[in-house]
Each structure stands twice: as C-alpha cells, then as structure tokens.
C-alpha cells in the first residue's frame, strides 16, 4: 500500500502572518518554495540513510543563503541576521538537518570570523564561507563538558611563531564534510591571575594533526554532519588567533547570544511543520465515519500547537528586531530559544499523537520532527542554561 504521507506540494497557509517588509517576505516565500519543492521530497530518505545532502547544500549556496547576514564586500548578500533566521525557519518547517547545516555554518562557522576577525582574516575566509562553497564549524564543546566551557582542556601555545594545539572537541556540527574548510576552536592559551585564559583559533581544514571521527549515530538530525574532532599537535600560524588573546570565552558567549535567535527560528520552523502536517492529516484521516479533524480533542491540540508556534515566532522576531536596532537582546534571545525549543518538543509530541501509529513510523514527517526536536533543548545552551541566564538578568543568583 502506498504511504499516506506522500508529500502534497503546498500547505494552505503561509507560516508567517506577521507583516514583513517586501524583501524579507520575498526571501521567506522563496525559501518556503525551495523547502517545499526541493528539500521536503528528499527529507525522509536523507533521514533514513544519513548521507550529507551536498546537492541541496549546493542549491542553498546558489541562492546565497550562506551569505545572508554578511556585506557584499565579503561575498555576502548584504542582508541581515533576521533574513538568515527566516530562511532557517522555512527550511526547518520541512527538515531540521539542512536547517542546522545552514545555522551552524553561518552563525557558528562564519560569524565569529566576521565579528572578531582582522581585515586579513575576513578577506581570507569569508568569501568562501559566504558563498556556501565551503562550510565553517565552531568547536567549543569537549567530551568532558559543554555547559562549563570555562573548563576547556584543549591547550594551545606558541612555538616558533606558530600555535600548537592539542585537545579534543565533541559534537561539532559541519566538522567532517567534504567541503568543510575551517574549524574555529577555543583553547586555553595561558593563565592570568589564577584564571584560565581562553582564546579562539582558526584551524584550516585539512591541517596536519587534525582528524575527525566517524559520524556519531544520533537520535535525530541524521543528515547533519556531527563529529568528534581531535587536535594532535596541530600547527597554525600565529596570526590565526581570532580576536584578542584571552577574549575567546567572552567572544563565543556573544556569538551564542545571536545564535540562540537562529536556533529559536529553527525550533519555530519545526513547531510550524508539526502544525502543517497535523492539519493535513486531521482532514484526511477518518475514524468513526468522519475526519478526525472533526473531533474537538484533535482540533484543540492543533489550535494549541498553532498558538505555540505563533507566540514563539513573535519571541524570536522581537529578539532579532532588538539586535538589529542595536538594543540589548541577550535576555530576549535566551527567552526565545528556551520557549521555542520547548514548544517544538511539545508540538512534535502532539503531532505524533495525532498521527496515531503512523506517527511512530520513521517515514512520517512528524516522527522525524519528534526525533529532531529534542536536541533543540540541549544545543547552543541547554534549557537550564537559558533559565540561569534569564534569572541572572533578573538579579538572581
């Protein structure tokens, strides 16, 4: 029997009813169309075989998605961070793996070089990252810990004008693709006043002594590349120090602040995808002689799901707007990420419930969403960390 989940090409409503300006709306609808026509039909197979979708990433590159927030002088599209978030949301509506590939490449891979790099570093690295011809990665987490990033064990010191780096990074997105060109890593570069001095270093790929482990077997995000990275006496030029020496910790915290808005966008996309799929299924599935969408129990679930996606979207729009206006946005970004990731998990659970037994079959989109959702409460700052940040802003602790 044919699967009832063959993708029907268009969902009836757009995900966003918030009035966007013409250019952002044109971008959003372009990515929506691309996601629907190119990504969605492949998503189940990508989830099944876990192969990195080089051709889809290539098409995203041609559309300029990897250059969205960067100025044209560095090969970017001259857009803004919000444009990137809109693209991530539309991709995540159908598939989280390609969405996180974009998010990590831009917001974690290229952005630190744009924000903290010297003019030479920007001109050397950004054009190939912004074009999407190559991907960047950011290595912060280690096998021994992610949240407690100050406990970094990776060390680097200068010998003969070169940094020599030793250590291991865990769970690094985009670290092992055929087109990965750079991994920025944090490392302890000394001690001052009894405190570790942490700096960021640009490590070109390939580099001698740099190796990546085979892909992890993950619960979700199957077509996203996640690797353990080993640095065994890797040597990079002294000028590969990114930003000021000893500012590595502070710098990546600010990168993570922005990144949280992008992860919130990804989570909203997933939450909206759950609404899209559930509305469709509730209309077509019948039980007791009528469509299950006639049952109030199902209607209420879907109404709540739509409400959650909508409010989480407003939260990330707000954080992005504050960021664009140059206002403080740390708390709003933490709230958006915390809320969006939690409602994504809730929506995925409810959508799976609405799909009954089919919801437990891997080929069903919402089953994939369910597996893809959980990491959102963990990556780029766990939910506990977001709550700590918010509480601290309220003057607690």
């Amino acid at each position: 029997m044919a699967s009832p989940f063959t993708y029907t090409a268009r969902s009836s409503s757009s995900s966003s009813d918030y009035p966007l300006d013409d250019e952002h709306e044109a971008l959003r609808s372009t990515v929506e169309e691309f996601a629907r026509d190119v990504v969605a039909p492949r998503a189940a197979a990508m989830d099944e075989d876990g192969a990195f979708p080089y051709d889809i990433v290539g098409s995203m590159a041609k559309m300029g998605l990897f250059g969205l927030p960067f100025p044209e002088q560095y090969g970017g599209m001259g857009g803004d961070f919000f444009a990137l978030c809109l693209a991530i949301e539309e991709l995540a509506r159908v598939d989280s793996s390609v969405a996180i590939t974009l998010e990590a490449a831009v917001s974690l891979g290229a952005m630190p070089i744009y924000r903290f790099g010297s003019e030479e570093q920007r001109t050397e690295w950004l054009p190939r990252l912004a074009s999407g011809e190559t991907l960047g990665a950011f290595g912060l987490t280690e096998p021994g810990g992610g949240t407690d990033a100050g406990a970094t064990r990776t060390r680097a010191s200068v010998y003969d004008g070169q940094w020599v780096i030793d250590g291991t990074k865990a769970f690094i997105t985009n670290a092992g693709t055929d087109i990965t060109s750079v991994i920025t890593v944090t490392a302890v570069t000394g001690e001052s006043g009894g405190r570790k001095e942490i700096s960021s270093l640009i490590v070109p790929v390939p580099s001698e002594g740099l190796s990546v482990a085979p892909k992890y077997s993950k619960v979700g995000w199957h077509a996203s590349d996640t690797r353990e990275v080993s640095l065994d006496g890797v040597r990079v030029p002294e000028q590969n120090l990114l930003g000021e020496r000893g500012r590595g910790y502070a710098n990546f915290l600010s990168i993570l602040d922005e990144g949280r808005i992008a992860i919130a966008a990804l989570a909203v996309g997933l939450a909206q995808g759950c609404v899209d799929e559930s509305v469709k299924y509730a209309k077509q599935r019948t039980a007791f002689g009528q469509s299950i969408g006639n049952f109030q129990a199902i209607q209420f679930k879907i109404a709540d799901m739509a409400m959650r996606a909508h409010t989480a979207r407003l939260a990330y729009y707000d954080a992005a707007a504050r960021m664009a206006a140059g206002l403080p946005f740390k708390t709003q970004a933490a709230m958006a990420k915390l809320h969006a990731s939690e409602i994504a998990v809730t929506n995925a659970r409810e959508a799976t419930q609405i799909h009954g037994g089919y919801g437990f079959m891997n080929e069903t989109p919402v089953a994939r969403f369910w597996r893809d959702a959980k990491i959102l409460e963990i990556g780029e700052g766990t939910s506990e960390v977001q709550r700590m940040l918010i509480a601290r802003e309220l003057g607690l602790g």
Partner: protein, 260 residues
C-alpha cells in the same frame, strides 16, 4: 541583443480555480496569483543566454491586472533587467487573439531580437500564444523548445514533440516557446530580491500602445462562454483484477457504457 520574455500571472497551480458566474471569466480573486511556472523556464533561458552572450538585455513583459506586477518582480529578482506591465481595465476578459495583439504591439514598441515564453499557460492551456505572436510580428516561430542556442543572428532550437525531436534553425528576430525540460529555473537570491527594487519598471495602457479598447476585452472575444458547470467529483471506480478473464470483463464494461 534584446530578449523579451512574456510572463503571465496565473492562479496558484495548487489552488482550486473557478469561473466568475457573472461573466464566465476566471475568478482571479479566488486564488493566490503566482508567476506561471512555465514562464519561469523562459526567464531562466533568457538569463542563461544573457550569461553566455555577455551583451544582452532581458525585458520581462506581462499583461494583466495590478497583481501581475508580483510576477514581474519575481522575474526581476531572478535577474531580468527591466519590466514592462500592460495594465488596462478594458483588457478584462481578453481572449488569446486580443492578448497576442496587445503583447505584439508592446514587443514592437520595446524592440526585440528574441521573444521567449512558456509553451502554454497553466490556467488557459491554449498553447497558441507563440504562434500568434510570431504571426503578428511577422517573424519565425519555434515552439516546444527543449534547447535554444544563439550565435550572432542565427538561432538553433531543439523541438520536442510527441512524435519527434527536431533541430530547427532560423534567423533572428524570432519567437520561441519553451518546455519544462529546457532548464532548471534558479531561485532568486536575496541580492537579486534587493536589486529588483531599483530596476526600471514601466506600465503601458492601451492608449500608450495605440490600441482601440473596443478591439480587446470580453466584448471583442471571438468565442463566448455561455455557461459552465463544475466538473463533478470522480464517481465510483471499478477496479478489474486479472484473474485470467480481465480482457473480457473490460470489454463488457465498455460495452455496457456503449463505448464498444
């Protein structure tokens, strides 16, 4: 070299289309308007020709109500250089003959070496516009193109018909209608979307084209739709599984419907 690409705003392919009961014309308000998908292949082909020839201008041309500007903008954000929009209330209900009259006048006014368009529109599906335009412009036509090559003023087109694949040649200017097979239309980039804002766009009325309003529109249409009924939902289906006598049972079925 100047390439004019005709683009049509049509109701979204996936939406339900209906006729306005008042005048039996397509109810354009009932569905979202989008650029006709086949026309995006024509735009892409024009952009590819421009990229390979270097020196070329791509002008996109649409006739339609105000909403058609959206389709023109999409074509501009893909990379077309200029847009021309023919908009006039008197055009409402125009048939293919009137449409070709108006488009041909505009194309002459814009100036052209090559006219590209989709081989049919997804709403009316007449598939006659390329032929009508060529006739009115008095230039060669090549329809159903799956490949186009330009060298100086010589044009080579690969035509795909249900019967054969043909290689045809002509001298520019000419009109070419394209098939989906011809290329893979690009998605606009954000840079293209931003650039579209500042590209030259002009609107033309019937008066600008020197066309008398009485020769176009519903009243001037050569055919009239007198009445219409929605297609009834598909009825009960009979599935015949082959247990050795399927042929005979199919024949019986057809005979019972007086088809045999």
């Amino acid at each position: 070299m100047k390439i004019v690409v005709c683009v049509k705003q049509v109701p979204d392919t996936w939406s339900e289309k209906r006729l306005d009961p008042a005048d039996q014309t397509l109810d354009r308000a009932a569905a979202d308007g989008v650029i006709d998908e086949l026309d995006t292949y024509a735009v892409e082909e024009a952009l590819k020709l421009k990229e390979s020839l270097g020196d070329a201008t791509v002008v996109v041309l649409a006739m339609g109500p105000a909403g058609a500007a959206e389709s023109l903008r999409k074509a501009l954000s893909m990379g077309a250089d200029e847009a021309v929009h023919i908009v006039d209330d008197a055009l409402h209900g125009s048939d293919a003959l009137a449409t070709s009259l108006v488009l041909a006048k505009a194309i002459e006014q814009i100036g052209y070496d090559l006219v590209l368009l989709g081989s049919e529109s997804t709403d009316a599906r007449m598939g006659v516009m390329a032929a009508m335009l060529a006739e009115r412009l008095g230039v060669p036509q090549a329809t159903l193109a799956s490949g186009v090559a330009v060298d100086g003023t010589s044009l080579r087109v690969t035509r795909m018909t249900s019967a054969a694949q043909e290689e045809v040649a002509a001298t520019l200017p000419a009109v070419v209608s394209v098939l989906e097979k011809i290329n893979e239309p690009r998605y606009p980039s954000f840079k293209g979307i931003m650039a579209a804002k500042s590209k030259p766009t002009s609107t033309l009325s019937l008066a600008d084209l020197g066309i008398d309003a009485s020769s176009v529109g519903l009243a001037a249409a050569a055919t009239k739709v007198l009445d219409s009924t929605a297609r009834p939902p598909r009825g009960e289906r009979t599935i015949i599984k082959d247990d050795g006598d399927a042929g005979a049972r199919i024949a019986d079925f057809l005979a019972s419907r007086k088809l045999l």
